[in-house]
């Protein structure tokens, strides 16, 4: 594989950039593989990469119904963080944060990792107390957390509404300085390129239509491009997990919901951090191109449409303008929607299943992108060793029967509330 560097860039400049190798092959399906991964999104590609790199399993195919990176890895708002209170989440995502720090070097692909800090705004003494508690829990798990007062925030995000008339006055905030953003497409492309170079086949436009299971053991899958034999298959199809699970006669504690995001026209540097205004269902950051990247809550009803509806968008942007009044002058460039696997406790599922050789990676709710490296890391381990990784050992499916839920928000089982 061609190494990307300043020297390869200069060298290729002399040939008008016509001699670059393809980043990954457009593979045809073979008859049989050791492991199949369904879904060429961030998690699927990362899993294939770590299977090849860490576990030396290279006879792997990644099957993708659409095109590489066309699902949620290309539809998120690129935020990285590990600002969780509960130990299983904190430790899992913090391991992921450490992987992000070296990911560009690891993949020889610039994922534009930008630890610009993520700030959660608080609007009352009670909310400040809750944030102190979460910040302390984070610190006990070795995660960076800083409480900010109103005066500090005034200097950091001067365009927020600090006036007397603000509907939700800013009392302060909790910041994770190492939180930030990364270029979402580059993550998918970087993993795809490295996985491909180690022998993984990435097969696009190949929809899995059924599973061949005999005596409780996986034998292979049926696809729109023929049958493929395999002893192991990993599902990385967040958004459509229930549909594939149904083909395996499994019912999962998951609902599919659409989550919208949008970007404005590009403007000069305006916001240096990721800022969440949770009380108003709004968060935003500014992309390197200068666009304001904004999002909020679910549309609020089951949906497989990768597009949303105007009332939610209007609500999100109304709150956005309340927090950053001069956003009102911006034009919108694009809006889009992605389908979230909303699990019944708000936490993901990485596990084996009752079928030998079928592995589950799903239920990522709003937060799948930041978990891409650590999800691939732990899922590859689970598939290779047929046992659950210690880091994801609390994300098992049977927690819904044993009662060991990880309900970070304390919301109960109404996924549509968020």
């Amino acid at each position: 594989m061609q190494k990307y560097s300043i020297f390869s860039l200069i060298k290729n400049a002399f040939s008008n950039h016509k001699d670059w190798e393809v980043a990954w092959k457009d593979s045809e399906p073979k008859k049989e593989y050791d492991v199949l991964i369904i879904g060429a999104g961030g998690h699927g590609l990362a899993t294939a990469y770590y299977l090849a790199k860490e576990h030396k399993i290279t006879n792997v195919a990644v099957l993708e119904k659409g095109w590489l990176g066309g699902g949620n890895v290309g539809r998120n708002t690129t935020i990285l963080r590990s600002n969780y209170m509960f130990d299983p989440n904190g430790l899992f995502y913090e391991y992921g944060m450490k992987m992000w720090e070296n990911l560009s070097q690891e993949l020889n692909y610039n994922v534009m990792y930008s630890p610009r800090g993520i700030i959660n705004l608080a609007h009352s003494d009670a909310q400040m107390n809750v944030f102190y508690r979460r910040g302390n829990s984070m610190r006990l798990n070795g995660i960076d957390a800083v409480m900010l007062g109103r005066d500090e925030l005034k200097k950091m995000i001067p365009f927020a509404d600090f006036s007397e008339s603000a509907r939700f006055p800013i009392f302060g905030g909790l910041m994770q300085p190492r939180g930030g953003t990364a270029r979402h497409d580059a993550v998918a492309w970087g993993y795809a390129r490295q996985a491909d170079s180690m022998g993984v086949d990435i097969i696009q436009h190949c929809e899995v239509t059924g599973f061949d299971v005999q005596n409780g053991k996986l034998q292979g899958v049926q696809t729109s491009r023929g049958n493929i034999k395999a002893k192991k298959v990993g599902l990385c199809v967040a958004g459509s997990t229930s549909l594939l699970a149904e083909k395996l006669n499994m019912k999962l504690p998951i609902e599919s919901h659409v989550l919208q995001a949008c970007v404005s026209e590009p403007v000069k540097p305006f916001l240096d951090h990721v800022v969440t205004f949770g009380a108003g269902h709004f968060y935003c950051s500014q992309s390197d191109k200068g666009e304001m990247v904004m999002g909020g809550d679910l549309d609020g009803y089951n949906s497989y449409a990768q597009r949303g509806n105007l009332p939610t968008l209007q609500h999100v942007l109304t709150e956005g303008v309340a927090m950053f009044p001069n956003l009102s002058r911006l034009k919108m460039l694009r809006t889009w929607g992605g389908i979230m696997d909303m699990s019944m406790d708000g936490s993901p599922i990485i596990d084996k299943t009752h079928i030998d050789g079928v592995y589950l990676n799903c239920g990522w709710c709003y937060g799948g992108f930041k978990a891409t490296p650590v999800s691939g890391w732990t899922f590859a381990y689970t598939i290779a060793k047929d046992q659950v990784h210690e880091l994801s050992s609390k994300y098992r499916l049977d927690r819904f029967n044993t009662g060991h839920l990880i309900d970070e928000k304390g919301l109960g089982t109404k996924t549509w509330i968020g």
Binding site: L243, K251, N302, A305, N309, N401
Partner: protein
Amino acid sequence: MLEIKCPYCGSRSQNEFSYGGDSNIKRPELGKEVSDKDWDNFIYLRKNPRGKHSELWHHVAGCRQWFKVLRDTSTHEIFKTAKLTEEL
């Protein structure tokens, strides 16, 4: 914007309603022995089809009645609405 026909008030904009999820969930009968599995399924398992979905909506900013809606989850098309006591 969805336009939802409340069986009591007629067609109104989506802004007046809130969502209640799968309408087929039945609470295990009171006073009877319920296995852990049945109870877990009642709490955590919902239908999640791509296509026609029978669900509950609440006319929260109107008559405050709950009712059933048959809606397509991939196109958002609404086929039919009915009172809770009626069949969809």
